[in-house]
């Protein structure tokens, strides 16, 4: 490990205009080090009377007039323009403030101005640069977080202690360790994301030591919780693997009854299709997927049902497998129920599979919408009435009116033209909700710190106050903000209720999931049925049968 260093230069008056506490009469000699203690300064002669030895900061080792000012190298962001260049901030909340670059090539997006003095900054990690392969997917996350922030900025009732403002930076997750380490050093107060769950552990490895809260919207890699510092600072607000599997098990149980009756036999044959990051589900499903009264693993080994479970990847060496090959696999397996766990666009794929000569008894499809409400089913299949009755799925349970309001606000916010912009993905919604959680937690942290000063660890510590069971329930969105401010002022706690997310964190730090079953209606919309799973895992309503009146 060889640190790269730019050679130290003797620093004096050229930058002192931006460091007012240190006068230009501070004296620097050619000596590489003048002092290690105050007495060494006074011993240097009459010209050094009244000086002290700077023990840290840019003048470390030199005799200066105002020693206290040089313990930290800056007191404002303006100080840092000269010290470390544009794009740097002074970590004013640290015991020993320093200048750290906040923006770089890896953080190209900002909302709000992080360089206004005393601004509190959040970072959103995703694919945002030219070196990232998923900008089309993640730009909506930045818009969602910015929308949440804008809605607070428009509320006169909401203010952090010290009237500090909040800004957002959007940073690449391509190098999660390097970027997170720099952001943590720059004093950011919360991390939203990353969008790629495989990067989460590396983010927490760097943020954990600072106690900075990480609001991760995908819980596929919840091992991040066990990283040092993660136990108290990681909040998995997305769908957890266990939550998704619970949803699949519930719908599969309902669907199995329909299929067994239709096939007139006592078991069903199930095939799971996985691709992309969702391949991480394959081992979980083997252990926890339940049908025919057994686990998938037991079904796979059960000769009495002719080994009635299989998992098939939709890709090989990173390339999509041809639909004809998948169709042949499913026909050979004689799948009754197919569960596609795809990152998006499976409806298009399914249309191509279904266009092939069908097996004698075509399968049912159970489609979980985890991070994306896959528009391709209804685009491709809306006119395919027989298939509509064979496609059923589930998505996060939501309040339709509140969700419709959010969707409208988001589409307006994201569009540059007069018409509505793109629909939000489920991931976008979760980022919006998580940003609100971070803002309310920051509000409480700012109230607790002296003179409005606080660090990320205080934000993490405030999350339980904002998600307190039994406290006044506050819905996310702009209408809830005045009520939230009132509740927090009166009682010091509230219970944030998301559009999707209950923010009821389980012992594994995942938010409990609630699901609703959908069917595709005649106009191609994914209509919610009355079949739902609550956050406690209980199923309510009668089993849904798609293609029939609900």
């Amino acid at each position: 490990m060889i640190p790269m260093r730019i050679p130290s230069l003797l620093v004096l008056c050229g930058i002192l205009g931006s460091l007012p506490p240190i006068g230009c009469s501070a004296i620097v000699a050619a000596d590489p080090v003048q002092c290690t203690s105050d007495s060494e300064c006074t011993a240097r002669g009459p010209d050094f009377q009244g000086t002290g030895c700077a023990l840290a900061g840019p003048n470390k080792g030199f005799c200066v007039e105002n020693r206290s000012a040089s313990v930290g190298e800056c007191t404002t962001n303006a100080d840092c323009v000269d010290l470390t260049g544009p794009g740097s901030v002074c970590t004013v909340d640290a015991a020993q403030p320093r200048c750290v670059p906040l923006l770089g090539d890896d953080c190209p997006l900002t909302y709000g101005n992080p360089f206004v003095e005393n601004t509190v900054t959040f970072a959103l990690l995703g694919d945002f640069t030219a070196n990232d392969p998923g900008r089309g997917r993640d730009l909506g996350n930045f818009e969602a977080a910015s929308l949440a922030l804008s809605e607070f900025q428009q509320q006169s009732s909401f203010a952090l202690a010290g009237n500090r403002r909040i800004a957002l930076v959007g940073c690449s997750q391509a190098r999660p360790k390097a970027t997170t380490a720099r952001l943590a050093a720059a004093g950011i107060k919360a991390i939203l994301g990353p969008s790629d769950p495989a990067k989460l552990v590396r983010v927490v490895e760097q943020s954990g030591a600072f106690g900075i809260p990480v609001f991760a919207t995908s819980a596929a890699q919840n091992t991040a919780v066990s990283v040092p510092g993660g136990t108290s600072a990681v909040f998995l607000t997305g769908s957890s693997q266990d939550g998704v599997v619970a949803g699949i098990n519930g719908v599969l149980s309902d669907l199995s009854g329909t299929v067994r009756a239709a096939r007139n036999r006592g078991f069903v044959r199930v095939a799971v299709l996985v691709d992309g990051s969702l391949e991480a589900y394959a081992p979980v499903l083997r252990e926890k997927l339940i049908f025919n009264g057994k686990t998938a693993l037991q079904n796979q080994a059960d000769a009495s049902c002719a080994n009635c479970y299989t998992a098939v990847s939709l890709t090989r060496d990173g390339a999509p497998i041809a639909p004809s090959e998948i169709a042949a696999s499913l026909a050979e397996f004689k799948a009754d129920i197919v569960i596609p766990l795809s990152e998006g666009g499976f409806g298009n794929y399914l249309a191509r599979v279904e266009a092939l000569p069908a097996p004698a008894v075509p399968p049912y499809y159970l489609a979980p919408f985890i991070d994306v409400e896959d528009a391709s089913y209804h685009v491709e299949l809306a006119s395919h009435s027989t298939l509509q009755s064979r496609v059923i799925g589930f998505r996060p349970l939501r309040q339709e009116s509140a969700y419709a309001s959010f969707e409208s606000r988001y589409r307006s916010f994201a569009a540059a033209e007069a018409g509505p912009g793109p629909m939000p993905s489920l991931q976008n919604v979760r980022i919006y909700e998580a940003t609100q959680l971070a803002i309310y937690s920051t509000f409480m942290a700012s109230r607790g710190g002296a003179n409005g000063r606080f660090e990320g660890a205080q934000v993490a510590a405030a999350v339980p106050l904002v998600t307190a069971p039994g406290a006044e329930t506050i819905d996310v969105g702009p209408l809830g903000i005045p009520n939230a401010v009132g509740a927090l002022a009166r009682t010091g706690k509230m219970n944030l209720n998301g559009l999707f997310t209950s923010f009821m964190f389980l012992p594994n730090r995942s938010a409990a999931n609630a699901w609703e079953v959908w069917c595709m209606d005649g106009s191609g919309r994914y209509g919610a049925t009355k079949r739902t799973m609550t956050v406690t895992g209980e199923w309510t309503g009668v089993p849904a049968v798609c293609g029939a009146a609900q």
Partner: protein, 133 residues
């Protein structure tokens, strides 16, 4: 005793992002640290390479605008990489000029006829750049 006055340099004005690719640790361009952390050292980390079978811009445009597998290593001296060209197309198609016509395609569906029609006229430049071989 002789005193010398030195004009200050903007110490460490360069944020050594480029160094992150090759060095195990990187300081932020100055030696004088503070007592709460000493010299700021960042972990070095290589940029990930393109996955096998990443999607060129044209393929991503027609299959899934929200894909996370666009090529980033295919820039030429005269043409930005696919990620950059797709981002420009997305901005036009999904936000500035065809947001309504492309609502489904910008929400994960493959390119629809309505989106094709709109972008062929209102996003012609971005579209041509994306489709360039």
């Amino acid at each position: 005793m002789q005193f010398r006055m030195f004009a200050a340099s903007a110490v460490g004005a360069t944020f050594a992002v480029a160094c992150l690719d090759t060095s195990p640790t990187v300081t932020l361009g100055r030696d004088a640290g503070t007592t709460d952390g000493g010299t700021l050292v960042l972990p070095g980390e290589l940029l990930p390479a393109d996955p096998p079978n990443c999607l060129p811009c044209a393929a991503a445009k027609s299959s899934d605008l929200r894909t996370n597998r666009v090529c980033v290593g295919d820039a030429t001296p005269t043409r930005p990489n696919s990620s950059t060209r797709l981002a420009a197309f997305l901005t036009c198609a999904c936000r500035t000029s065809c947001a309504s016509a492309c609502a489904d395609s910008c929400s994960g569906a493959p390119m629809t006829t309505a989106c094709e029609l709109c972008t062929s006229t209102s996003c012609a430049t971005e579209r041509a750049a994306c489709e360039a071989p």
